[in-house]
């Protein structure tokens, strides 16, 4: 643990695989930049890997003032222990005040290990981060400029704001897709700092024997428009309607969990708390009730059209356009209207 260090930097763990920076890292850079500006401190990125120095420029373009690179063959593929060693070493050497990680399989494996070794707090799966204050009424003290870690809890039924005012760094993982990725400014300049770290035999003890990665088949996050179907679509056959509308507007196909559970479509299309979080320019929800777990994954969309025959359905509470009626009639009308324009 380190003690509160008001001059400490705001850090992002820079996650890369096979020479590619994960999108969530760049999303986080934008947020960390904002937090660092509010606190008037520098923003840093920690980049462990092998032959990854070149990636520093992208991190700088997205807001980093400093990139701490650790280049080592032990870091070629992600493994918990060597990566945790790098993070703990960097935190001990430079005492950042905030460290954020993507809530990816890597971030969610790494961050708790680091938090435990540092005896620091960690909040999982945040959907928002802000700087704010906390009044400790019992001790009559006000802690200013803390990281407010905002996350859904209890199966998404409540929103909790978590803080950590004494055992720093303040750490959080953030879900993919919830922060907006900036365009990046290649003319920004920043410092690249090379750091070497020693690993013990124990830390090197886990070996990657085989490794297999699939390109993401469905890229919901990158889609500008998404047409999503829910339980109300009724069957796999009828889900063709959703594909047709998506085809007509050149969008991707999304789904609620009821549609996935019903076997209408593959789980990779699921939007929501346990699926993908999306924020397209347009989201069309067809026959989706709008349960909180679903809304959590789509309510940030710029425009939302909801089609549901139940006018009380909660999906309408986040909609910009609401059409109360039978989707089997309305979706074909929409396809027709779009085709007429083209």
């Amino acid at each position: 643990m380190i003690s509160p260090n008001r001059k400490g930097e705001v850090w992002v763990f820079a996650e890369q695989e096979d020479g590619r920076i994960n999108d969530v890292t760049l999303e986080l850079c934008g947020k960390a930049r904002e937090l660092a500006d509010t606190l008037c401190v520098k923003m840093g990125a920690v980049l462990p890997g092998w032959n990854v120095r070149e990636l520093s420029y992208r991190l700088i373009a997205h807001g980093a003032d400093r990139v701490y690179v650790t280049h080592d063959t032990e870091l070629e593929y992600y493994r918990t222990l060597p990566y945790a060693r790098v993070l703990c070493e960097m935190i001990t050497r430079h005492e950042p005040q905030i460290v954020i990680y993507g809530a990816t399989p890597i971030g969610r494996d790494l961050a708790p290990r680091v938090a435990s070794e540092m005896k620091a707090g960690l909040t999982a799966d945040c959907t928002d981060l802000e700087i704010g204050e906390y009044e400790d009424k019992k001790n009559k003290t006000v802690h200013k400029n803390l990281l407010l870690q905002i996350r859904p809890a209890f199966g998404g039924n409540i929103i909790a704001t978590i803080i950590n005012y004494d055992r720093w760094p303040q750490m959080a993982t953030v879900r993919e897709g919830v922060m907006r990725m900036g365009a990046g400014d290649p003319s920004r300049s920043g410092e690249i700092i090379e750091e070497s770290v020693e690993f013990s035999d124990f830390e090197k003890s886990i070996r990657v024997v085989e490794r297999h990665r699939e390109a993401r088949k469905v890229n919901l996050k990158a889609a500008r428009t998404i047409v999503a179907g829910g339980g109300g679509v009724g069957s796999k056959d009828n889900f063709q309607l959703i594909h047709d509308l998506a085809g007509a507007i050149g969008g991707a196909v999304g789904a609620s969990r009821a549609a996935v559970d019903g076997g209408f479509i593959d789980k990779t299309h699921q939007v929501g708390q346990t699926g993908t979080t999306v924020r397209p320019a347009l989201y069309i929800a067809c026959g989706i009730s709008g349960a909180v777990q679903h809304r959590a994954g789509m309510e940030e969309s710029a425009k939302i059209i909801a089609i549901n025959w139940d006018k009380e359905a909660p999906i309408f509470s986040v909609a910009h356009y609401g059409i109360v009626g039978d989707l089997n009639k309305i979706v074909p009308m929409m396809i027709k209207a779009i085709k007429e324009r083209a």
């Binding site: 399989p105 435990s116 998404g156 929103i159 009626g325």
Partner: protein, 304 residues
Amino acid sequence: MGYHSVVCVKQVPDTSNISGEAMKPDGTVNRAALAAIFNPEDLHALEAALDIRDAYGGTVTVLSMGPLGAAEVLRECLYRGADRAVLVTDRRAAASDTLATSYILAQAVRKLKDYDFVFCGRQAIDGDTAQVGPQMAEKLGIAQVTYFEKLVELDGRTVRVRRNVGNGWEILEGRLPLLLTVLDTANEPRPASARRVMQRKRSRAVDELRKEIAAAMPGASEDERENAFADGVEKLKMAGQLIEQWNLDDIAADLQWCGLAGSPTKVHRVQSIVLTKEGFTEVPPTEDAIRTMIHELIVDHTLG
């Protein structure tokens, strides 16, 4: 000889079935109104451990931290085949965050001494943090493999496991002891066996027994109850039906790392999700109205 596994299991409120009644007027969740269930992924952790015992011999010990009621999930484990059950329960552990929880559980695992595997479910449905497993591994000074899906090979002290990371998988090789967090795709948990239910349904933690005796002997004196209790404990022990109950002193926990004091994260604010009725443009389900809406979306560059 075989392998000794410890499985951490948790009793959780059934967050998937939260209804209006479960929300208090102030917007917080009324835990008491929710059914308490076995954390779903922990059943898969238990199954993974039972699989290893069935194939290689050894033992499966289940461990839970929580209020006395959590003895229920331990009994469920005994019905499904666990050999030994330990409940860590102590008021001073209340309000522990994941770091304090992992410290307490790690202390309990230490007390169990010889273990080869520690299994946890990937995450618990009340917090969805997935942090306790990796934090325990760090506290125990052992390696972790999260998102465990399959045991590929086990040979002496060397183990190969497959983990599924969503966009792919990998096979890792490591040496025991190891902590694994288990996905629900790893296996199909076996049901409780009728024979084991018969055998173990009388299993009790000491405080459960104490409560039962107090309820059964309302008019009795303190001494009479104490005697009945001592008798009862002896009988449970003899029959191998005692769910061991440990407090923080039993596991030599340093109180500065437990409960509120041991928890760096604090809850600042809690809001229930209330639907914000901001209002929306209602489009009648007619061709004309839909055409107009599409036109608007093209004009404001949302479409096209």
